[in-house]
């Protein structure tokens, strides 16, 4: 008796995003990577009211995560940011007015060399899962089963030192590969 999904609508912006949501890497960590991109609709227009969530294994391969992604001040309730010690593995970033998002994180391990992504947006009735691969691992079961033009939608492009670019296309010629998990 599964509960159906419903769209996040246009007004999640004052409820779900939190300060430092895209700062998964501890501040100043030397291995920090920047991953950024745009979300586009089927007409190629930027989507300014999307929300992206990220989940990944820690650099040491751990998948347990730790609490504290939206650590709060118990006096004022304000979000005071991650403690910079634990790697929570979770990030949440709304797109800007121009459909752009930025994430700073640590490299995922070779055993799971990707970021899992969940996309929400006004107009999207049921979230979509995809993956960001930072490099193309050999023998990956998902990538190996895709034709080249579809596989390319899951591969982040190098964009300078320590920086990657990954665009999400909800529809259209460059439509991103979205995943069925169940």
């Amino acid at each position: 008796m599964i509960t159906p999904s419903q769209t996040a609508g246009p007004f999640f912006g004052y409820a779900l995003p939190f300060a430092g949501g895209g700062e998964m890497a501890p501040a100043g960590h030397p291995d920090t990577l920047t991953v950024h991109g745009y979300v586009h609709d089927g007409a190629g227009q930027p989507v300014p009211d999307a929300l992206l969530e990220f989940w990944q294994a820690a650099p040491d391969g751990s998948r347990t995560g730790v609490p504290g992604s939206l650590r709060r001040d118990p006096v004022t309730s304000a979000v005071i940011g991650r403690d910079g010690v634990g790697f929570t593995g979770f990030g949440r970033v709304p797109t800007d007015a121009d459909g752009h998002w930025v994430l700073r994180t640590l490299p995922p391990p070779a055993t799971a060399p990707y970021l899992a992504v969940c996309v929400f947006a006004r107009g999207l009735q049921h979230h979509l899962f995809t993956r960001i691969y930072l490099g193309e691992p050999v023998g990956d079961p998902l990538l190996g089963g895709l034709p080249p033009h579809r596989r390319a939608t899951l591969l982040a492009a190098g964009d300078g030192v320590g920086r990657y670019r990954f665009d999400v296309h909800l529809q259209g010629d460059e439509e991103t590969v979205f995943l069925e998990l169940s």
Binding site: M1, L170, E175
Partner: protein
């Protein structure tokens, strides 16, 4: 509070491309009928809304046209997920009526229920987030320009962690219905947005809880994007007189069952759910 815009004239003229309710109703009716025929012919009932559901106009350019790719990866990171704890929550987060110096206007309610996985097991210690319009049907969001009053004593955002039995509880006010611009004279039934995590990222869910007996249900393309009548009913909370508190608040009960696989998932027959 002063109004932020003019009151629209009754039967306000719009450009020719703006559909009227009867057109939206006909589109919804046709899609529901086709879905019912498919089920009658042996197809499984659809649990989730269709991403491609044209009566909700914003869905048209925001859904993929390729089929989803099955991820048959037993080692997938998506089978684990983020965790949250006491540092992520504060005392007042679950009581939306106590987040400002004064009491918000509106009908005080409590909403409670359990978060379960698809095997019926409670989801323990996980984050539940809600957001909603105030009692007048206005969101505390700049882009909501519905000329209904903001309430300085109500923001409409709540969070809590589920208990060992998967239970969550919020105290809030009943949100108002509000207009939107999907079509002429479009109104959303009153609802509370819910965001839920399971033990696996693949169980993630954002949805909306509705209130029983809302007269706007038949007209709303978002509610009706779930084509199966029984699935739609699972979006509607039950009034619980046992949850109502004398001289204080009315109670609603709404259980949430998450879809998606978890690492510790052991298959149970569908009939056992």
């Amino acid at each position: 509070m002063t109004r932020t815009g003019p009151m629209p004239a009754e039967g306000m003229a719009t450009d020719m491309s703006t559909p009227v309710q009867s057109e939206i109703d006909a589109e919804i009716g046709a899609l529901h009928e086709a879905a019912a025929k498919a089920v009658a012919a042996g197809a499984p009932a659809e649990v989730h809304p269709r991403r491609d559901f044209a009566p909700y106009r914003s869905s048209v350019l925001r859904h993929p046209k390729n089929p989803l790719v099955a991820l048959g990866d037993p080692d997938a990171v998506e089978l684990s997920g983020p965790v949250f704890g006491v540092t992520d929550i504060t005392e007042l987060d679950s009581d939306l009526t106590r987040q400002h110096p004064g009491e918000p206007l509106g009908e005080r309610i409590t909403v409670t229920g359990r978060v379960l996985d698809r095997a019926g097991r409670p989801v323990r210690g996980q984050l539940v987030e809600i957001w909603q319009a105030n009692a007048s049907g206005r969101y505390a969001h700049q882009r909501d320009q519905h000329p209904a009053p903001l309430d300085p004593n109500f923001t409409g955002v709540g969070r809590c962690l589920t208990g060992d039995d998967g239970a969550y509880q919020f105290t809030t006010v009943k949100p108002g219905a509000y207009p939107w611009r999907n079509h002429l004279n479009a109104w959303r039934p009153a609802h509370i947005h819910f965001s839920l995590f399971g033990t696996a990222f693949g169980q993630r869910l954002i949805t909306q809880m509705y209130f029983p007996g809302d007269p706007l249900f038949p007209y709303d393309p978002i509610f009706n994007s779930v084509t199966d009548e029984r699935a739609r009913q699972r979006l509607i909370a039950a009034y619980g007189h046992d949850l109502s508190r004398p001289e204080w608040s009315l109670g609603y009960r709404w259980d949430i069952v998450l879809d998606g696989p978890a690492a510790t998932w052991t298959e149970a027959p569908e009939e056992d759910l």
